[in-house]
């Protein structure tokens, strides 16, 4: 039996303490926005304004058009037009440019003659990710240009080509993937860090013993601590989603209500886990560190937020099934980008409900010595 008077007293106290603790306030209200801006702007899998050098050894009207097209897409910025490949190499080595496009002599003639016209793209491979993306982007642009050129040149044998069409994130903007994932990551931080502070503090200050001497029940302590953080968590999600839509134009195609319900499930589990950790170690510093390793890091590294799960080694893929953030990210991306709901995401919902039950169970159990029921 839960007493509403006691539960309200606990929750109110927790809320007041939260308001007066600058560390908690920063964690709750500044960190989410900071992360959103940081991840949103810094982590991107798109190429934009990549500095490029072009060595045009052909020097015809067609090759000038080609470089114009390249420039016009906005993906590349041609900042040098060196005379020779040797000069271009030096630019690449000195990091003045990230790529060099070499158009060999005779390119135009071969292209208009319907023969294979080769072009060389040198990219700086020290940043493998950017290099791959730059190559693919250049390949797509040049391919399009070549087909157009061939058409204009009335060449007969046009190969049939598959035209890829991308659904759900048609512009393939990585930010659209980042923002929904970030909701899950931010929730992991809120849950782990905030609860790590609040519970361990009770032991460090000796207030736990005073609490334990009152008739308050374990469930009332756990729920009383949970409620204020659930509110903050929901608020943070709302802020992150809104800021994501305004700053990065991330679409929210699905239901806000369903997003809130899934968020509550995830938060309950993660907060419970945070309470469990901090009650088990009884020190704010240690609890914060363990909480980071146990919830925040997996949420960033193993949830599919930054790294594709299917590209991980098999063992690691197995581990990801134990990471609640993995399911939550599937849910947020589903709701944001595909606009789907529980009809598709019910399995994730079930797992997250189980996670919430586990978190609550662990958190309640950990006080069994101090607070007998």
């Amino acid at each position: 039996m839960i007493s509403r008077t006691r539960l309200r007293a606990m929750a109110r106290k927790e809320w007041i303490q939260l308001k007066r603790d600058p560390r908690s306030m920063i964690l709750a209200f500044v960190l989410p926005l900071l992360l959103l801006v940081f991840f949103g702007y810094a982590i991107t899998w798109d190429v934009e304004d990549l500095p490029l050098a072009v060595v045009d050894e052909d020097g015809t009207q067609v090759t000038r058009e080609l470089t114009d097209v390249l420039q016009a897409t906005g993906d590349f910025r041609i900042i040098h037009r060196p005379e020779s490949r040797q000069v271009a190499d030096q630019l690449l080595i000195r990091n003045s440019v990230r790529g060099v496009l070499v158009i060999p002599p005779g390119f135009t003639v071969r292209l208009q003659g319907g023969r294979a016209a080769e072009i060389q793209m040198l990219v700086d491979g020290s940043d493998a990710n950017t290099a791959t993306i730059a190559l693919n982007t250049a390949d797509a642009i040049l391919g399009r240009f070549a087909r157009n050129a061939v058409l204009q040149g009335r060449s007969a044998n046009l190969p049939v080509r598959a035209e890829p069409r991308i659904w759900y994130n048609p512009t393939l903007e990585s930010r659209n993937m980042i923002v929904p994932g970030l909701v899950a990551v931010i929730m992991s931080i809120i849950a782990a860090m905030l609860t790590a502070l609040t519970i361990a503090r009770e032991w460090e200050r000796g207030t736990m013993e005073q609490l334990a001497s009152t008739p308050v029940a374990r469930v009332e302590v756990v729920l009383g601590k949970l409620l204020p953080y659930l509110l903050i968590g929901l608020f943070d999600v709302a802020v992150t989603v809104t800021a994501g839509m305004i700053l990065f134009g991330t679409p929210l195609n699905g239901s806000v209500l369903e997003l809130a319900v899934y968020t509550l499930l995830f938060l309950t589990g993660a907060l419970g886990l945070g309470i469990f950790i901090s009650a088990a170690v009884k020190s704010q510093v240690l609890a914060t560190q363990i909480a980071m390793v146990a919830t925040y890091l997996p949420a960033v590294l193993l949830s599919g937020f930054l790294f594709e799960i299917t590209s991980m080694p098999a063992v690691l893929q197995g581990v990801t099934y134990l990471i609640p953030a993995r399911y939550f990210i599937t849910v947020t991306r589903g709701i944001f980008l595909k606009g789907v709901g529980v009809e598709v995401l019910w399995a994730q919902g079930l797992f997250m409900a189980a996670f919430a039950a586990l978190g609550l169970g662990l958190a309640t159990r950990v006080f069994r010595k101090e607070l007998p029921s």
Binding site: T5, M10, K13, G206, T207, P215, P372
Partner: protein
């Protein structure tokens, strides 16, 4: 008898691994009594109080507080008693009023009763008009009285105080004991542990603990008289031994060391 004795303990024992902190302790405390618990550090005073306040499960033996079983009714016991420990555990970042209201809520005191109790506590602790001050900045003596107030916000009939006056100056200690005396006159049973000998004089009965065992239990006066008899001094000529002397010789006869 309609009302059960406030505290009844039979062969109460608590072990931590191989170490026996409290060893087959038996005693009873009557209504309105100020029952003092004396002993060197580590004698088992705090462990006994924790078992009686529902904070710790006894390993063996039986005990009833307000007629409630210390084994199976620990939460019920906590609702019926007041407990204040040597570490004042009010929330330092909450204001005086917020602390009072928190413990009011936890003890199920609400509405007009809470208002009345809040007024009473502020008056008792001499903190009227300071409800909005943060508790952490208060002088120790005020903190201690406020802690006592929050511990008895629900007006319990039995009060457990574990070295409540540690670190408090003699004047504040004297005033604290005036309060306790007042409770006793109104029929509240006070169970208090201390290591200040002048405080022991205020108790109706004293229990001496050493190495987990109860080695003496009587009124301060009779404990002194018995000590005088053992020493063979003539009660009419020599000054009677002080409680401190009683305490030290009792502990030494038991083969214990008086620390701190």
């Amino acid at each position: 008898m309609a009302e059960p004795r406030p505290v009844v303990v039979e062969e109460l024992t608590r072990r931590f691994g191989d170490f026996t902190a409290v060893d087959r302790v038996s005693f009873q405390v009557g209504r309105g009594e100020i029952f003092g618990f004396l002993g060197p550090n580590g004698a088992g005073k705090t462990t006994t109080i924790k078992m009686l306040t529902g904070l710790l499960e006894p390993t063996e033996g039986r005990g009833w507080v307000a007629g409630l079983d210390v084994h199976g009714q620990r939460r019920e016991i906590r609702a019926r008693i007041g407990y204040m420990s040597q570490r004042f555990s009010l929330y330092p970042d909450l204001t005086i009023r917020e602390n009072i209201d928190l413990f009011g809520g936890l003890y199920g005191v609400a509405g007009t009763r809470l208002e009345a109790r809040r007024r009473w506590i502020l008056e008792m602790a001499e903190l009227q008009g300071q409800e909005g001050s943060v508790t952490g900045t208060l002088p120790l003596g005020f903190k201690q009285r406020l802690a006592l107030g929050t511990a008895i916000i629900h007006e319990p009939a039995i009060l457990f105080l574990d070295e409540p006056t540690s670190g408090v100056d003699p004047v504040a200690r004297r005033r604290f004991w005036d309060l306790i005396d007042g409770f006793s006159h109104r029929g509240v049973t006070v169970f208090v542990s201390t290591h200040y000998m002048e405080e022991a004089e205020y108790c109706h009965r004293l229990a001496l603990m050493n190495r987990g065992r109860l080695i003496a239990l009587d009124t301060p006066r009779r404990l002194r008289e018995e000590e005088a008899r053992i020493r063979g001094s003539d009660p009419s000529s020599a000054p009677p031994p002080s409680l401190e002397e009683v305490f030290i010789s009792r502990v030494e006869r038991e083969g214990g060391a008086v620390l701190g």
